[in-house]
């Protein structure tokens, strides 16, 4: 399950936005303090159309990364990458840490800040409705009157995308946006303008983000064993040496006052005292 959006075809009618809002029942857009603009992505607007100079319209939505940062950072697995492709959200186990919002390289997840019981909101590619057979394809791609955004298998869409940019090399930038970015995304774009503005940085690189964390996290068992062994060993060595020292001193001056033995002798006597 993937989506291919062709920026050159989009006419900016926002039928996709309307269809998404109706299908997912997201509610009315309002000018809240915490969003950039009322027509930017928000908890009530899971996809939006960004207007760029010279009649360029770019649809913004969750990219459904192949190796999603949001999924890898969620401490409970409330964000979940389905085998079909879409990244879905389970509000039942979410604890609201908002790490997914911090981690997303595209800054997509939004929060229902106004609610006393808040949740994360983002495009889920109508996954549950397609799964149950209620929809054949996401509401947005179905609503598009000019087939600027289409739904299909990722490999097939990549093929279509490459064919399009090869056919009109003068028009398109020779790159399928999302083919390799941060390890690839399920939402692909072909365009005649650069789409770097969709992410936090113009070029996000091809390295999947979760690897950066995993480099350290896979050392956790090693650290547990290593630090445990070193600390235990150091304790044993020093403790043994000090005990011998104390014994030697005792032998040397048997008349002297008895030294407290071991490291906790001191405290035991205190306890008895009180």
């Amino acid at each position: 399950m993937s989506i291919l959006t062709d920026v050159t075809r989009c006419i900016g009618c926002e039928e996709c936005v309307k269809a998404c809002k109706e299908t997912n029942g997201t509610g009315v857009d309002q000018p809240w303090r915490w969003q950039r603009k009322i027509d930017d992505l928000s908890a009530t607007r899971w996809t939006t159309v960004v207007s760029k100079p010279d009649k360029h319209y770019v649809r913004k939505q969750c990219r459904h990364c192949v190796e999603p940062a949001c999924v890898s950072v969620c401490p409970v697995g409330a964000m979940h990458k389905t085998p079909e492709g879409p990244v879905v959200y389970n509000s039942d186990i979410c604890l609201g840490c908002r790490y997914c919002m911090m981690a997303c390289p595209y800054g997509v997840p939004r929060y229902t800040w106004s609610e006393p019981v808040p949740y994360v909101r983002k495009c889920i590619m109508c996954y549950h409705k397609i799964k149950s057979g209620e929809l054949q394809q996401p509401a947005c791609t179905k609503a598009c009157p000019v087939e600027a955004t289409i739904y299909g298998d990722r490999d097939e869409l990549l093929e279509i995308a490459h064919k399009r940019i090869a056919e009109k090399p003068d028009l398109y930038i020779q790159k399928v946006f999302g083919e390799h970015d941060v390890g690839g995304t399920s939402v692909l774009y072909v365009s005649d303008i650069d789409l770097g503005f969709l992410g936090w940085k113009d070029d996000l690189g091809e390295k999947p983000l979760p690897i950066r964390t995993w480099v350290f996290l896979n050392k956790v068992p090693g650290v547990i064993v290593g630090v445990g062994a070193v600390m235990g060993g150091v304790y044993w060595v020093i403790d043994r040496r000090m005990r011998f020292q104390a014994e030697a001193m005792q032998k040397a001056q048997p008349a002297a006052e008895k030294e407290p033995d071991g490291d906790n002798g001191n405290d035991t006597t205190e306890a008895e005292k009180s």
């Binding site: 890898s72 697995g77 979410c94 604890l95 800040w113 609610e115 936090w200 480099v215 600390m231």
Partner: protein, 642 residues
């Protein structure tokens, strides 16, 4: 007295935070925080969680020194260090309960495993370490309780617990750095580093040592007790090595990743980075390296204080300030966020005092206990009952707590009671102008014009009136508004309530169109939805919006006449005025009388029955009064005003 004053202030701060707590949980994060979708982590994560965990690092550092490395001379400060760590972690968990959206789900990581998440690991470590610290500190409590058996078991567990504590601390102190490894685009390159976890771990040790020094100085000041100067000097010496190592690591890391040029730019990030590195590591490391400084209390306090400030700043930088350049959003914590952060720290400090006063946290307090806490005898002569001291202070502290809570209520922003409301759309203020009222041809209507001395020299042109220039419908279209006339016509002084004081959300007065209802009734019967459905749902758009490159609006669409050749009846007033606005009638009345009615009449002669019998005047007009008119489709049916 010193301690009572400090405690009183702390209780006020806790009181303020208590009020904020109520609104946080009743009205949600949006009401009490300044967080945004692009800055979802703020002060509570940066200071309370990241700073709090790092500040509590003294616990495991001191435990390692004393129990593992047998540096027996530091034994007197192990208890306060462990207590600080325990309370620090309590504060971290407290802060988290405020910050996370669904705090009742905080236990979920116990059962839902996600080992790829750094936060999952942090959650487990903090949870376990909090309990380890509780057990490490428990002997202090149990030695004063009569359960000798429990005390002995706890004592025997000390070494395994200390080792477990060191493992857990190593893991999560570094994992807090790992949290940010996944945000290479959000965190500014100066702070982003592949060795962030190592930097966090080393800095936690440095900060832990500085914090132990700071805390010893503060509590010796509060309780007027002798300071363990040579102990602290030793810690400071160790601190200078650790902080020096940290500074070297930071600079070498920048050099190796080729980021030194970012420092040269003179950007505010570069300045902040240099300042932070100076106060967190370099200055305190240099101070601690000077023997004279290590021997003076002032020197120790200064060095440690600077380091503590520097590292808290470091955590705030990494989690917040360094992301501004990427996200372009400015976030400054709201006062309620500050209040909660300060309140949590105050509560932790109060708990610290409680333990210090009731248990042997400091060794030297052991000797003078019995008479210190004795109940004073009632005055035998006067019969005056003296307050039992703890009771007297309890009532004083309750009072200041309530004062704090009341202060919190008083300062709470307007929206706190109802929860946060959407941003106000800007409304332009009304302006008084001189207007000229002239009689229109048709009575009793008037026409208004801005008074222009060049044009309106003759006073007979009309009557000069004071008028308002208002944007009544908030659509950037200003009109001359005759306030006096509206007042007169609607019943004088009693009519204010018709427009004002309606308590409408986001509004100060009723918009014009709410009374002048036909103002925005377009005399346009085009039903977009109907056409869309008829023309094969959405696929049909292109049948009217033929040019895919053009924005889809009325101007670029095909004209009604193109398809509906016979729509206009011969007698119609409706003219095709200009090609861009096909089919707009001069007004509702004209459209109705000359388009709808004509067509209905025609259809009736063809024996076609249409729902509203528009051929009959009475179908709309209930009388001669125009206010009794029924406004027909496509507008919502409305009953005639009674």
């Amino acid at each position: 007295m010193r301690i009572r004053l400090v405690k009183g202030i702390l209780w006020v701060l806790v009181g303020v935070a208590a009020t904020v707590t109520i609104f946080r949980f009743l009205k949600g994060l949006g009401t009490v925080t300044a967080l945004t979708d692009t800055t979802p982590w703020g002060l509570w994560i940066g200071f309370d969680v990241l700073g709090g965990v790092a500040l509590a690092a003294g616990g495991f550092v001191m435990a390692a020194c004393v129990y593992i490395f047998h540096l027996e001379k530091y034994r007197p400060i192990i208890r306060p260090a462990v207590l600080t760590a325990f309370l620090g972690y309590g504060a971290v968990i407290g802060g988290l309960m405020f910050d996370i959206g669904l705090p009742w789900n905080i236990w979920r990581p116990v059962f839902f495993w996600q080992e790829h998440s750094a936060l999952f690991e942090v959650a487990w470590c903090v949870m376990l370490y909090f309990h380890v610290l509780a057990l490490e500190f428990a002997p202090v409590v149990f030695e004063r309780l009569p359960y000798k058996r429990v005390y002995k078991i706890l004592k025997a567990l000390t070494i395994p617990l200390v080792i477990l504590g060191i493992i857990l601390s190593t893991l999560h102190q570094s994992s807090l750095g790992t949290l940010f490894l996944i945000m290479p685009f959000r965190v500014h390159p100066l702070w982003y580093s592949p060795i962030l976890p190592i930097l966090f771990f080393v800095s936690a040790i440095g900060l832990g040592l500085s914090m132990v020094i700071t805390e010893s100085v503060v509590s010796s000041w509060l309780y007027k007790k002798e300071i363990e100067k040579d102990l602290l000097g030793g810690l400071a010496r160790a601190g200078s090595y650790v902080l020096g190592l940290y500074a070297v690591l930071k600079i070498v890391d920048l050099a190796f990743t080729g980021k030194l040029h970012y420092l040269a730019g003179g950007s505010w990030e570069a300045n902040l980075f240099i300042f932070e590195l100076l106060v967190s590591a370099i200055v305190p490391a240099v101070l601690f390296a000077i023997p004279a400084v290590r021997r003076s209390i002032g020197g120790l306090a200064t060095g440690a204080g600077i380091a503590v400030f520097g590292f808290v700043l470091n955590r705030i930088d990494v989690s917040g300030l360094s992301t501004i350049s990427a996200t372009g959003t400015r976030y400054f914590p709201s006062w309620t966020e500050f209040a909660v952060s300060i309140g949590i720290v105050s509560a932790a400090a109060l708990a610290f005092f409680f333990f210090v006063e009731h248990f042997y946290v400091y060794e030297e307090t052991r000797d003078d206990t019995p008479e210190k806490y004795a109940v004073p005898e009632p005055d035998p002569v006067g019969g005056v009952r003296l307050y039992w001291t703890p009771m007297a202070s309890a009532s004083q502290y309750s009072l200041v707590f309530i004062i704090g809570a009341a202060l919190g209520f008083a300062l709470m922003p307007d929206n706190a009671v109802h929860g946060v409301v959407p941003e106000q759309t800007p409304v332009k203020a009304a302006r008084y102008v001189e207007g000229l009222q002239t009689k229109a041809e048709e009575q009793p209507l008037y026409s208004y014009a801005l008074f222009d001395p060049n044009e309106h020299e003759n006073p007979d042109d009309g009557e000069m009136r004071n008028m308002l220039l208002i944007d009544g419908d908030r659509n950037d279209k200003f009109v001359l508004f005759d306030h006096e006339k509206h007042q007169e016509d609607n019943g004088g002084k009693n009519s204010c309530g018709m427009c004002h004081h309606m308590n409408k959300p986001l509004d100060r007065a009723t918009s014009c169109f709410e009374c002048h209802r036909d103002m925005f009734l377009p005399a346009d019967t085009f039903d977009h939805e109907f056409h869309r459905t008829k023309l094969d749902e959405s696929g049909g758009c292109v049948q009217c919006h033929t040019d895919p490159a053009a924005p889809k609006n009325r101007a670029t669409a095909r004209q009604c006449d193109d398809c509906h050749k016979t729509m206009r009846v011969p007698d119609s007033f409706v003219q095709v005025a200009d090609k861009d606005h096909t089919g707009i009638a001069p007004g509702y009345m004209d459209a109705m009388h000359k388009l709808c009615i004509e067509c209905h009449k025609k259809k009736e002669t063809e024996k076609v029955e249409l729902a509203p019998d528009l051929g009959r005047c009475g179908a709309c007009h209930q009388g001669l009064d125009s206010s009794l008119l029924t406004v027909r489709e496509p507008y919502p049916q409305q009953a005639p005003a009674s």
